[in-house]
Every structure is written in C-alpha cells, then in structure tokens.
C-alpha cells in the first residue's frame, strides 16, 4: 500500500516574541500523516505539541511567528496561505478539537447553533437546513435526544457531552484532517475511552487523517498507528507505536515510557524524568535540547542533530541512541 500523506510538515520553526526575549518554541519540526492514519504527538507540557498544531491551523497567538517551514496539505502550503484562504480551509478541510470542552464552546450560544454556524459558513448547509443538519451531526456523535440537546447551552451539558459537541463541530464538514489536542483531558476515564473510540470510528468511516496530541503514551499506543515524540520543540523520535514500546531508541522516549503506568510496571518502578525543559530563550541552546538532562551525553552531542533511521518508519534524532 502506498501511503498518501494528508499533511506533511517540513522544517517548521516557530518563535514567540516575549518581553524577556525570543523563545524558539519549535525548531526544524517535520512529520507527516497519511490519509486514514492516526499519528500521536506526545511529550511533556511545553514540548511544543500544541504550538505545532496551532501553527498548522494558522491560529498562533499574535506573539508567535513561523520563521521557516512548510505544511503541505491538499497540494498547498498552509503556512503560505493568506488568512482568508486559510479560514476557508479551517473547519472544512482541517479541523481541530481542544482540551477543556466546557470552555472551548461559546457559553451563551445554543450548541445546535454553534454547529450550524460552521455548516453555514462552509456551505455544508443552507441557513434553513442548518438546524436540521446540526441535529444530524449530534446523532452522529451519539448524543441522546439530539433535538432537545441542540437547544441546550454548554453549561447545561456534561464535559463528555461538550466534547461530543466539539467533535460534531469539527467533523461537521467532513474534514480530511483532524487535530485533536488532548481531547480527553479533564474527562473521567470511561468517558475518555468512549470519546477516543468515537473519534477513531468517525475517522475510519471517512478515511480522515488524525493527529492526536497527548502526554499519555499509553493512550497514544492504544489508538495511534505512529507516535511522534517531542521534547522542547524538537522531534526526538518517530516510530510505529509497537516499535516505540518494544524498543524506544531515544533516551527521552525511554524515560517517558518508564514514566508511563502499564500492566507490567509497578507503581514503585515508575520513574520521573530528572531535570526540566531547557530555557528556550537562551541564545546558546545546545543542538540537542535534551542533552542537559541526558545520561548518555557525549562529545558528539555538540554537533548538529542527526536524523537516524533505525528501523522501518523509525527515525531518531540522537547521536547515542539506545
């Protein structure tokens, strides 16, 4: 099977201008997602997962600036599109769902109308048909009693219910790519599974590509074909889920795995990763941003980062891989 990439991000770098200096939030980030494939972006908080997604969607804060890179999607570079053209694509061809569904919905607009807004905007339905089409979407994300729920405000619904509404908004126009930014954070574990299954199922039906952003490696392994590990704005390792779990090559991935609760790991064996993220404002950042925390550090680590292929679809950015 020859895979066709739905999204190919190449050499993406993003800077944030802050009062205390320029923060190099992303540096030379590259990965791709094939049609129908689910790829996880994992890493600790501040590793640049969400910024990657925001940059691709073109919804970075005003302080953030893309300094290099391309994001090829459907034959065009998303990063080079005008805001107007990009807005046409957003919600129709590429969609995003966020964490904290309760705050991610307009608190004073009926949820049915919020879905209808997107449909009307992208020509998915006429103004007259939109309310009915919105109810169809609510059915699709399996909200019981959709006619009544369409009239509800977000504060009248549970967190899981709100996340279903978010999914309905994101998938209303049948996008080719869905970015799910920690969609299950703040939901209880059973709801988590239901939401993940729902996303997986709806993606499978339409051959949609999915980027799943999480800090939960176990969740990523369960639902994703490939896992991309990020650390301090770099991609340190990209591998099929199984391969990563069997044999993580980057020291950071290995530490992340050791910090992930699983069947075989006892609570005592769970290890926290020593050290923190480096200060990304420093002008003299080492080529490998993990080197400050790394036990396998050597002289070679001062050279520019390599991209070593260590297996099928398995790439690691490390001079001394495990």
């Amino acid at each position: 099977m020859t895979a066709i990439p739905a999204l190919a991000v190449e050499d993406l770098s993003v800077e944030f201008r802050t009062r205390s200096g320029v923060v190099k939030v992303l540096e030379h980030v590259g990965f791709s997602v094939d049609k129908g494939e689910t790829v996880a972006l994992v890493g600790e908080s501040g590793s640049g997962k969400s910024v990657t997604a925001f940059a691709v969607m073109g919804i970075l804060d005003a302080a953030g600036k893309v300094t290099s890179g391309r994001a090829m999607f459907g034959g065009s570079d998303l990063l080079a599109l005008s805001e107007r053209d990009l807005a046409e694509q957003r919600g129709r061809e590429l969609s995003m769902i966020f964490q904290n569904p309760r705050t991610a919905l307009n608190p004073i607009r009926r949820v049915g109308r919020q879905i209808a807004d997107v449909l009307v905007r992208h020509g998915g339905a006429t103004r007259n048909d939109a309310p009915r089409a919105a109810i169809e979407m609510l059915k699709k994300v399996r909200i019981p009693d959709p006619e009544r729920r369409a009239e509800a405000y977000p504060f009248e619904l549970s967190g899981g219910m709100c996340q279903r509404i978010m999914i309905a908004i994101a998938l209303a126009c049948r996008p080719a790519l869905l970015i799910a930014d920690e969609p299950t954070t703040g939901l209880d574990v059973t709801t988590q599974a239901v939401i993940m299954d729902l996303i997986g199922e709806l993606a499978g039906e339409s051959g949609m590509a999915t980027i799943f952003i999480t800090h939960d490696l176990a969740l990523a392994a369960e639902y994703c074909d490939r896992i991309v590990v990020m650390h301090a704005g770099h991609i340190v390792e990209a591998a099929p889920g199984r391969a990563l779990f069997d044999h993580a090559r980057h020291p950071y991935s290995a530490k992340l795995l050791a910090a992930t609760p699983g069947e075989t790991v006892s609570l005592d064996a769970l290890a926290s990763i020593p050290g923190g993220l480096p200060d990304l404002r420093r002008p003299d950042l080492p080529p490998c941003r993990y080197s400050g925390r790394c036990e396998r550090r050597s002289e070679a680590c001062d050279q520019p980062l390599p991209q070593r292929t260590v297996g099928e679809h398995h790439v690691v950015a490390c001079w001394n891989p495990l």
């Binding site: 969607m57 005003a62 807005a87 004073i108 807004d117």
Partner: protein, 337 residues
C-alpha cells in the same frame, strides 16, 4: 425570566422603605430651621412658632414620620415651601428634562465608547488603541462641571457655535406639545423642525459634557472585556472552525464581552443621575437636579425628599432593567432564577 424579575422586584422593596426612612431623618437632622427661614429675618418669635405649627414641625419626630408616610401612600409629597406648588407636579414637569439630558448623553456615550472599545481590543496596540487610552484617561480626569464650563466657554463664548446655556429651548420658541416630555421626540412628533433643531442645539453641550464623563468607563470596560473574551478558548475554537472574522468578533466575542459592559452601563447611568445636578446648574437646565439644589439651599424639605425618593425609584427601576437585559443576553442568569 418573570420569576427573576419578580424576585428582584421583591428585593427592591426594602431599599425603597430604607430610602423613605433615611430621607425623612436626613432632612430633619440637617442644620437650618425652615420655619425661621420662611418667616423672614424680621419675624417675631410668635410668627416663627405659628409657621412651625402650620408646617407640623412642632410635633415629635415619630408623629411627623407617620404623617409623612401617610401622605406618601396617597401620592402626596407635600408642597414646596418656596413655590407653594405640590412637589409631585413640579417633579413630574421637571423629570423629563433631566431624563432627556441623561438618556441623550448616555446614547452618545455608548455610540462612541462601544465601537471605540471594540476596535481598540481587536486592533490592540494600534493608533485606535492609543486613541482609546487617551479618551478614557481624559474622560476620567475631567470633572463634569469643568467640562461643562469649558465647553460653554469655547463653543458659546469664544466660537459662538452653541446657543446661550439657558435651558432647554431658545427663549423665543414655545415648547412642543407635551406628549412624552422629551422635546426632541415631541417636536418631531408634531413635525416642528425648528423646535427640534433648537432643542438639539440646547441639548448638545450639556449632553456632551456628560457623555465625555461617562464614555471613559464604558470604553475601558468594553476594551478590557473584549480583550479577555478574544483570548478565551471558545474564540480559538471559532477561529479554528474557520468562522469569518465578522462572526468571530461580533456574534461570538462581542455578545460575550457585552455582559460586563451592561453592568458598567448601569453604574454609569447612576453616576449620570448624580452628575445631572452639576450639569443642570452650569447650563441652567430646568431638571430635577437644579430643583433639588435650590430646595437644599432654602432648607425646603419636601422637594429634597421628593428628589431623593424619585432618584431611589429610578435607581431601582434601572437595576431591574439591567437585570432584565442581562438575563436576555446570558442564559446562565436565567437559570439562576
């Protein structure tokens, strides 16, 4: 919604009762003897005592209070000592003048402040934002009587663009037929453009002085509230859904941002009711503020009480309206009732 209104109405009753008690006490405890004032400087002690008996001031405070409440219930606010007219009719004829001035000022302020605040937030850091900052700083730093005097000095005395600050209408014109009591509306309804124009010209300066004063908190609150909302998660969702900038800013952001602005509007409105007293004095505006000032100076109880009561009722009505509007905009408030 109706429940909300009724419950708020119920909470308003104690405030009204409180105001009745306080106005009564306040005017009795103020220094100055109205009987002596009205008897004149040359009056004999007997004459003063006679007037005091006539006014009921010789009775004990509780007795006076019972009489006062009894009159109130019958809609009788007493007679003004200086004019001899019933206070109710005097307030009724003067209230529209104040109301027209205040409402017009408020409309002008809202029409400028809200677009300015929204623009300043959407185009944060640009010249609109700086303009907004200058306007709000100037607005809060200039006392309203000063703005009034300054405007009258510049536009009437120096430039002679504005008419003399002497009331609601050019002295050669007769007021329009009394329909709403608002000269602008009444003159339009009776098709008298000349009166309308004159009323507008008279209204302009006092209204602008009050508008400048109330613009500042409104613009500042609009800007701040818009900024907060524009940075919130659901706006990011709206943008990520590709909604047009117009929908994002107006339908999504503004409707949420307007909630604290409504609250501020209520506060500004009550400030304006107070500022009325000063502006009406500067522009000889025949409203209830000027009426109250004159009554205070002459220790004329009844009009002062009437004024404070009217104001209290206005405040309560205003707060009810604010609650109602708030409930219309925010479904979460409706639920609480």
């Amino acid at each position: 919604m109706l429940n909300l209104l009724l419950s708020r109405l119920a909470t308003a009753i104690p405030s009204i009762v409180g105001v009745v008690v306080v106005t009564f006490m306040l005017t009795r405890l103020l220094p100055g003897d109205p009987a002596a004032y009205f008897a004149g400087l040359a009056a004999s002690p007997q004459a003063i005592a006679e007037i005091r008996t006539k006014l009921g001031l010789d009775k004990s405070l509780p007795e006076q209070f019972v009489a006062y409440v009894g009159d109130l219930v019958q809609g009788n606010l007493g007679n003004s000592l200086s004019t001899g007219q019933p206070v109710v009719t005097e307030i009724a004829t003067r209230l529209p003048a104040s109301a027209e001035l205040t409402l017009f000022a408020l409309i002008v302020a809202v029409a400028i402040a809200i677009p300015l605040g929204v623009l300043a937030a959407v185009k944060q850091g640009t010249w609109v934002d700086h303009l907004c900052r200058i306007v709000t700083t100037a607005g809060v730093s200039l006392p309203v009587f000063f703005t009034g005097l300054l405007l009258a000095y510049v536009f009437y005395y120096l430039l002679q663009w504005a008419p003399a600050p002497t009331g609601r209408l050019d002295i050669f014109l007769s007021p329009p037929p009394d329909i709403t009591g608002f000269y602008l509306i009444d003159s339009m309804l009776s098709g008298n453009l000349e009166t309308f124009w004159s009323a507008l010209r008279q209204l302009a300066l006092p209204a602008i002085s009050m508008a400048i004063f109330s613009l500042a908190p409104l613009a500042r609150m609009t800007r701040g509230s818009m900024l907060a909302v524009l940075g919130s998660d659901f706006i990011r969702t709206a943008r990520a859904s590709g909604l047009s900038p117009r929908t994002v800013v107006f339908t999504y952001a503004f409707r949420n941002a307007v909630l604290p602005v409504i609250t501020t509007l209520g506060m500004v409105f009550s400030f304006l009711l107070g500022a009325n007293v000063l502006v009406e004095t500067v522009f000889a505006w025949p409203g209830i503020g000027l009426y109250a000032v004159n009554a205070l100076i002459t220790s004329d109880y009844a009009p002062v009480q009437g004024f404070v009561l009217t104001m209290a009722v206005l405040y309560v009505t205003l707060n009810l309206t604010i609650d109602f509007v708030y409930g219309l905009v925010d479904p979460r408030v409706r639920l609480e009732s």
